[in-house]
Symmetry: C2
Subunit: 423 residues, 2 copies
């Protein structure tokens, strides 16, 4: 299927026009109308389970034939429970507060103009993602709840699942007052079309990539549409000399092993030299028992024989698996220096009983989420109480950290006068 | 002066390292320290007027020799009054409230974690701008007040003025506790270096272009650093059938002629057919008396002989001069349709005595600033009461409309626990 750039642009333009028109309707929709649409989509998922699973089976079969790894095929897989979970997600979104039509601030300026800062939807949101089909439903639900239409571009290995899910969601919408065009799916899997999509400024108000580091980097490099960068997490746990060792162990094990494949999992352990000999063996033991490989610096390797020698690049790595880099630092300043140099700015934590060091750490570390005496695994929209989450932003513009419904909104200024002109 | 990409990257890397280190100091600086730095910079401007004017004269001479237009040379020109105005700007910034170290929100999650959303600086801000040297001082002052360091890339025609201003500002900083490295200036005028600067993700947290449409488009197309788009204003005034005609005239003349070269000036007038015959002649007369050329549609040309026939592209134009497009619309819906199609989303206004149409207009028009019975010329940081303004955003991500100090900040989440792990 060879397409010219003109073909691709025509395709995008049509989708963009439909999405923009739907966004206009969504922008004016009441909270009730949006919630009814979410519930209608949930109902449609329930009613079309067997169709969705049949289509999903095609993707699974193709992936197995193509020789994809088991983990990849597993990410693609849908079953009744996973469809229920998407359905429940939509129902939960219906119960969340509406982030739109809120006046954030209002004042009267020196000329007597009443100026209001009102929350409004972003408009049309592009989502580029990889193999997990649940993103199709979760992202769509959140975008619609915040009054936005979406143009989805999923992975080519999930194309049948995504087509089925979008068809079903649109069927749900057709029973509500929200236009079915609020959801657009790009089914052409070509990289060329993805590249055009990233430059579709005319049709997109923002673009959110969801997936691995390669996808994110490709979007950052190629997009001209405003992007929200998500998800790279080289997260640190610093065990300060005044730490409670048992607390340190429990938070370390939780951060590294509870779900190693996600961006808020720990990747590096730092520990003060003054307590290393006493505290480190129990910490590394606990990790090794969970099957974690320890990449330690020289001192670490001299204290425990459970570690392999760390290379300098280990401190840069987001392992996303059962490995961790461990380093003995001289003191608090040394720990901060290491975090400043290596952190990806996602989530970093200190374990300490010192009030002073806790406060300093919260100020000194410039990451989206900074922790004292708690696991970095809490950096998550649901844990933060936002209901859903469209991703975790690691940039500073627009939104930072877990992004809930508010991150999917903008604002406008409403200015009411009685004939004022500028002097 | 031919430079390799490696040379340029080395130059940027050095600047980036210095700016990042300064940003770290700025982030921790007290409000008083930042304000003292602003006042020290103001003082330094006062003390070095003759040096600045000498250097500025070089730029003016070069520009005249190069045959630049008078308007361009005029934009470059500094004089005592203009330096005083920059100086006063810095003093006013010192008096503004500090946008940093404010807790925007705080709550306890279901696990008992105390989560705070704290305002923080963006970090290092890149500014790409054209010939006006006052941007060097204004942008730097605002960035520093919000705790950010800056890397400036001004126009090549203003390079001596900018070098002089940065030298003087840095001298001011050296008498304060804020590092002089907080201000970095790219003096190499090449487009190649500008292109590398737009892709300097490693060193910049955000990039703000200030200038004409060509500059903005070039930055939007080429940057990989997160950009805040500023400044394109195709602004509309819609005179509704229930308008007060005198008010309409006064707001029209103000919007079009008070300062036609700026982005919040009016570019299109729409008027309801039912009142066109009665109201239009006085409106166009008032504009013609101010030297404005009227590009009217067929009906307009049939009502007044002061208009020339408008082409379709006139409705797309940002004239930034003494011209205006005028169109007779059938009714409110037709006016909204025209604005939706042609507005750049900057500022649009309705003149009406109808409560219903006023409210509908405020909801229906999706622009950064939407007005009832007031001039679009008020879309401005100072008029909105923000003190200074770094630009007017026409995108929806991060900041929209006039951007004051808050637009130069981000936030981080501070999470305080007592040993919590994720279950």
């Amino acid at each position: 299927m060879v397409k010219t750039t003109a073909d691709m642009n025509a395709l995008l333009k049509d989708m963009g026009t439909a999405a923009k028109s739907a966004a206009k309707a969504l922008r004016k929709s009441s909270t009730d109308a949006k919630n009814e649409a979410l519930l209608a989509m949930a109902e449609a998922l329930e009613e079309n389970k067997s169709f969705i699973l049949e289509e999903n089976k095609k993707d699974m079969d193709h992936s197995r034939e193509a020789g994809y790894q088991d983990a990849m095929v597993e990410r693609l897989a849908l079953n009744e429970a996973r469809i229920d979970s998407m359905k429940d997600g939509l129902k939960q979104m219906a119960a969340l507060a509406d982030p739109i039509a809120k006046t954030q601030d209002q004042w009267v300026n020196k000329d007597g103009l009443r100026i209001s800062k009102r929350s409004v939807p972003l408009g049309v949101i592009g989502i580029i993602y990889e193999s997990r089909p649940n993103v199709t439903v979760d992202a769509t639900g959140l975008c619609l709840k915040a009054g936005n239409s979406v143009i989805l571009r999923g992975g080519k290995e999930a194309v049948n699942s995504n087509k089925a899910l979008v068809k079903v969601l649109q069927e749900g919408l057709s029973k509500s007052s929200i236009p079915a065009d609020s959801i657009q799916l790009i089914t052409d899997p070509s990289r060329e079309l993805a590249a055009e999509f990233m430059k579709f400024n005319e049709g997109l108000d923002c673009l959110i990539p969801r997936g691995g580091a390669n996808l994110i980097q490709s979007v950052l490099k190629n997009a001209t549409v405003p992007v929200i960068e998500t998800g790279t997490g080289n997260c640190h746990l610093y065990v300060h000399e005044q730490a409670d060792f048992e607390m340190a162990e429990s938070i370390l094990v939780n951060g590294k092993t509870q779900r190693p494949s996600v961006c808020n999992a720990l990747e590096t352990l730092l520990i003060d030299r003054s307590i290393a000999k006493e505290a480190l063996p129990a910490l590394t033991d606990a990790l090794v028992q969970k099957g974690v490989i320890i990449h330690g610096d020289e001192t670490v390797c001299s204290i425990t024989d459970e570690a392999v020698a760390a290379e300098e690049e280990d401190y840069e790595k987001e392992y996303l698996g059962n490995e961790i880099a461990v380093k003995v630092v001289e003191d608090y300043e040394d720990a901060i220096g290491h975090i400043e140099k290596h952190s990806s700015g996602h989530s970093d934590a200190i374990i300490t009983g010192s009030y002073e060091h806790a406060q300093n750490f919260l100020n000194d570390v410039d990451s989206a989420a900074v922790y004292v005496n708690a696991s970095t695994r809490f950096t998550d929209g649901a844990e933060f109480g936002f209901g859903g989450e469209i991703g975790i932003s690691t940039q500073k513009l627009h939104a930072r950290g877990p992004m809930g419904l508010e991150a999917l909104t903008s604002y406008k200024y409403v200015v009411e006068g009685m004939g004022q002109t500028k002097g």
